[in-house]
């Protein structure tokens, strides 16, 4: 199966409350490898839009710290992406 692994990678959800918060996400995307799930790219991010993106284990800590520092509310939708990938196949062969 898939060679690339996603151990402990996270998917975060947040809703930037204003332009300043939207810009913080855009800044984070310049310095980190964010994989946008919704919307599909950082340039679509605007205030009051729900934003989902994937972050690597390595970058997660500093990204969460930045969000905390800026008092940005977020939710961790997926804590360990690799686990979730494996859990997709939850129907046993008939």
């Amino acid at each position: 199966f898939s060679q690339v692994r996603f151990d402990r990678e996270k998917v975060l959800r947040m809703k930037p409350q204003d332009e300043r918060q939207a810009n913080i996400i855009k800044d984070l995307a310049q310095t980190n490898e964010l994989d946008f799930w919704y919307p599909d790219a950082v340039h679509h991010v605007t205030a009051n839009m729900t934003v989902d993106f994937r972050v690597s284990e390595k970058e997660a800590q500093s990204i969460l710290a930045t969000l905390d520092q800026n008092k940005m509310h977020y939710e961790i939708l997926i804590h360990d992406l690799q686990e979730e990938i494996e859990k997709q196949f939850d129907i046993k062969e008939e």
Partner: protein, 308 residues
């Protein structure tokens, strides 16, 4: 042998190919397989034509799997073919639909990308074509259509997940689909493209905030479509034009098909709302497909009655 195909599970490309052949052999009177081209990596692009030999009937074109990691989408196209063939002759509505119209179903649009998600990287989105003067691979096929293709500067970078390609229809997959639709434009009355996730039913436009000329009609169909979809499991979808309902896009297949003259074009963003995102568990596949089937059947009935 590619192993056993299952509608309750995700199927890899080899299983899907074998399944297309099986469907064709099982119901030759209503199913035929058309090879419309090949991908960048020389995999075949197959369409299943459901509904008999008459080319002059109204038709609906439906594609799945334009974005590689959206696995629920190809699963729905397989489900649709299965249900259509299984219920033809038994279910009054499906029998009427298939007697009077054809469905062209492309179960996997982005074949190379789909294979890549199974073998190398589950999170891959684009196709797998090589880009000149760049180490980055792949084009977002849903930015490669010839409609407002040049509008968004963010899609010019080959390393962007939204890279639009070096020219409109530069990708073999896009070209094969657009050529097929243009060849059958007289009969194709509706275009449906299936994506995930976020539970939406979208219609043009994405490239402009302006409303399409047939806005009222599209809005009505989308409203009833989402209402019908929710009747089975109370799954709530929102609906509306792409630009204001999701976000502005350029080069999308939906806008292209609409501007080409297909006046009923819709995009489904299937389940879920983000709990699983692109990783919807197989245990939720059947319910997702069943409710979506209701909406697609409604659209087909509407086309049969109203499209000229």
């Amino acid at each position: 042998s590619p192993g056993r195909h299952s509608y309750a599970k995700y199927n890899n490309w080899d299983k899907i190919v074998a399944w297309t052949e099986k469907m064709m052999n099982k119901r030759p009177e209503i199913v035929s397989r058309i090879k419309i081209g090949a991908t960048a990596e020389d995999n075949p692009l197959y369409i299943l034509k459901i509904g008999g030999k008459d080319e002059s009937k109204k038709a609906i074109f439906m594609d799945c799997g334009i974005h590689a990691r959206e696995w629920v989408s190809p699963a729905f196209c397989q489900w649709f073919v299965y249900q259509a063939t299984k219920t033809y002759g038994r279910n009054k509505i499906m029998t009427k639909l298939l007697d009077r119209m054809n469905f062209y179903v492309l179960p996997v649009f982005n074949v190379d990308g789909y294979i890549w998600t199974w073998t190398k990287n589950r999170m891959w989105r684009k196709n797998r074509s090589k880009n000149q003067n760049s180490k980055c691979i792949g084009t977002d096929l849903n930015r490669n259509f010839n409609v407002s293709w040049n509008a968004f500067p963010e899609t010019k970078n080959p390393c962007s997940p939204l890279y639009r390609g070096p020219a409109p229809e530069s990708e073999k997959e896009t070209k094969a689909v657009t050529d097929f639709i243009r060849r059958n434009l007289k009969s194709i009355k509706a275009y449906i493209t299936v994506h995930s996730y976020s539970q939406m039913l979208l219609f043009p436009y994405g490239y402009t905030p302006e409303m399409p000329p047939t806005y009222k009609d599209l809005n009505k169909v989308a409203k009833i479509g989402t209402d019908v979809l929710s009747t089975r499991y109370e799954t709530r979808y929102i609906y509306g034009p792409i630009a204001s309902t999701i976000y502005p896009t350029s080069g999308s297949s939906l806008d292209w098909a609409y501007d080409l003259g297909i006046k009923h074009t819709f995009a489904f963003e299937l389940r879920d709302k983000g709990r699983f995102g692109f990783l919807l568990p197989e245990s939720r596949l059947k319910s997702t497909c069943k409710e979506t089937m209701l909406a697609v059947k409604f659209i087909a009935k509407y086309i049969l009655r109203h499209a000229s």
